[in-house]
Symmetry: C2
Subunit: 153 residues, 2 copies
DNA sequence: TGACTCATGTCAGTATTCTGACATACGGTG
DNA sequence: CACCGTATGTCAGAATACTGACATGAGTCA
């Protein structure tokens, strides 16, 4: 009731829009990943590993925006299912470098294609200059949020 | 190891950046909301209610990007703590219109100021034209994601 | 060498959210 | 009036992620 016809002049703050966009992206990714039996975090881990082989559990966790503990649970599943391998003993320190197996790489290929289609759809409404601008804008927002605004010149 | 000095040329896809920005924003919000004993979803619900009094549980859920079930749990807590009121019986249909109590409104004021400071910090790295562009860009991305790209002219 | 700090992996418990399912209430249609 | 599709609130169970805490390994410094 009053969902589509009401003006919905809610916040329309950039923060709300950002959350809305992120939510829409996640939903779209889940939709195309589900038929492949993969979750977004699942995919993120594999993609991270493909681009930077040998990442440790903690590094993977940071890259996927989850805790070490959550990523560890996921890695155990991926390892059990044969998508990822980790040495029995750490080569140095405590960090166990993870790597994709051929099976993991194959699985990632399909998922990667699916996700790419979502990203292309997301970009389809933007002009090239807008796409370039989006990179800079999001980058600036992240930087300001992390370093504390304009204080960290 | 190799976290700050490595190039981190990861995806750098717009999707990843969007997730990164959203994650940074959420973390920043949690940080300023925690001293007030509030979570992000908690705050979102109150803010939604302030701007659109009488929203139902389902409508609030959509606005906060969670399920009806999750929002219902939250609403019960907010009701118990005296921040929100709902009539015992639905005036029409099954939807129970929720409203902020004076206590809820007071609580929201502080939270709102805190969140606003975060949003200002996020915007501090952007020029005015960039801020305007950000609205349009995020809006376009959401639209394309929801309606299926350029197919829905 | 010994103490200190930091990062990592891991265990345990908790919290939050989600999926599935059901009954109810409104609106449209025959 | 009866039927059907949609939307809502709600209950129950499962999945997921988080916080807290601990021991280990590496680097630094006296």
């Amino acid at each position: 009731m009053s969902q589509k016809d009401a003006g919905v002049d809610l916040d329309k703050s950039l923060g709300y829009l950002l959350k809305e966009a992120s939510s829409a992206l996640r939903a779209a990714m889940e939709e195309v990943l589900r038929p492949l039996g993969m979750t977004v975090t699942h995919y993120s881990c594999l993609e991270l590993l493909a681009q930077r082989p040998g990442l440790s559990n903690s590094e993977l966790a940071r890259g996927a925006f989850v805790t070490r503990q959550s990523m560890n649970v996921l890695l155990q599943t991926l390892e059990r299912d044969g998508y990822v391998t980790r040495p029995a003993a750490p080569p140095v320190g405590k960090a166990l470098p993870a790597r994709l197996t051929p099976s993991g790489r194959r699985s990632l290929e399909k998922a990667s294609a699916a996700v790419r289609s979502v990203e292309l759809r997301m970009l389809s409404g933007l002009t090239e200059p807008e796409q370039t601008a989006a990179f800079g804008i999001l980058g600036s927002m992240i930087h300001s949020l992390r370093d504390g605004g304009d204080a960290a010149g």
